[in-house]
Symmetry: C2
Subunit: 215 residues, 2 copies
């Protein structure tokens, strides 16, 4: 398998964690999202992923898979051990909802291309950009924390005592929060679960700082 | 079942289509996202959905389900006919990726709370707000169209000849595009499939204009 990614991309980070948890190896191909106006815009990458985003996973049969949550579910269906989604429909709905609380409500508003538009097109100041980042992260973490605190299904991890798709989305968002100095003090369960995840070798190896293209 | 929604919410619209396709009835409870600064911020709604977003589906056992894609997958797992995801893992990955191309890359950047932040906090002009909306929609539709045009799996609908989760995300996004005068002429497959969907009674009944809270 090949994974086109970028060390700092939350979405690529999610897939790296899934590969590590499943014990799957992939050749990592870095696509620098900033250098040269963004290598994802190079003509060669359009044939890899027409949306010009990372990650793209190319499996051993040559299929191109895009969108990180879809990739993780595919890996989970094709390599079921250890499972990244619960066995019951209600549990799966909760894990997907937690994952989407990050992957739909927070990350898309704060990703690199949106920040670039704010700065380059809307001429937003550095302070206003920082306030934007914090605003959406606090809304998202508050919702995530409330969902954790309000459910008996919360365990050592976001759902039960093994990592799920929800944790794969949470941990990269915590990385972003720390990068942009967002105070996570109000989010007790978020912090506890983030620490529990990073104590596992799979999460640790998937970290941005551990990637070959890290700066 | 009860569905907390708003006639114009893309995310609620997705769930309404799923309910109609499955032949499931739900009491629709409108949550006006604009009036009174947004009814989703009322204290009573926090206990319904801590993220203060729509939709929330309350099933017959009283479980609260949030996040539209997670809700649709839950309905599909608990009421399998007609299926909204393909039977094969690769097909499911493609349908989820198409859905997420809308639900992660376009809709979150253009939803009501983000537009309000642009206008009220960043003091963005009406023209710049319109340009923002068009920018993200064109990027998203171009990616979706390329994924349709580049795959033999595209049929009468986004994946094969029956509607899937992908179409449930596409049609509300087309509604938004039309609302904000986005020219869909470049997206031939998108337009064709949007028309095919709206020719089905389930999609027609789920339309914003058909809801009791429509304005």
């Amino acid at each position: 398998m090949k994974l086109y990614g970028y060390f700092r991309s939350s979405a690529a980070y999610r897939v790296r964690i899934a590969l590590e948890l499943k014990g799957l190896s992939a050749e990592h191909i870095p696509v620098h999202l900033v250098r040269n106006g963004g290598e994802q815009h190079a003509a060669a990458y359009a044939s890899v992923n027409p949306a010009r985003l990372v990650p793209t996973l190319v499996d051993d049969a040559g299929h191109h898979l895009v969108q990180s949550m879809a990739i993780v579910e595919y890996l989970d269906e094709t390599h079921p051990q250890p499972p990244l989604l619960p066995a019951d429909a209600l549990g799966r709905a909760r894990v997907r909802a937690l994952a989407q609380t990050i992957a739909c409500d927070v990350h898309p508003v704060n990703n690199q291309r949106v920040l670039r538009y704010l700065t380059e097109t809307l001429k937003v100041s550095d302070d206003a950009r920082q306030a934007w980042l914090h605003h959406w992260m606090h809304l998202g973490f508050a919702a995530y924390e409330a969902m954790l605190a309000g459910s008996d299904a919360t365990g050592r991890f976001s759902h039960g005592d093994t990592p799920t798709l929800a944790d794969l989305c949470l941990v990269p968002q915590i990385y972003n929060a720390q990068r942009f100095q967002v105070d996570l003090a109000p989010y007790e369960n978020v912090r506890r679960i983030g620490d529990a995840c990073l104590a596992l070798p799979a999460f640790e190896k998937a970290q941005p700082s551990m990637q070959a293209d890290a700066e």
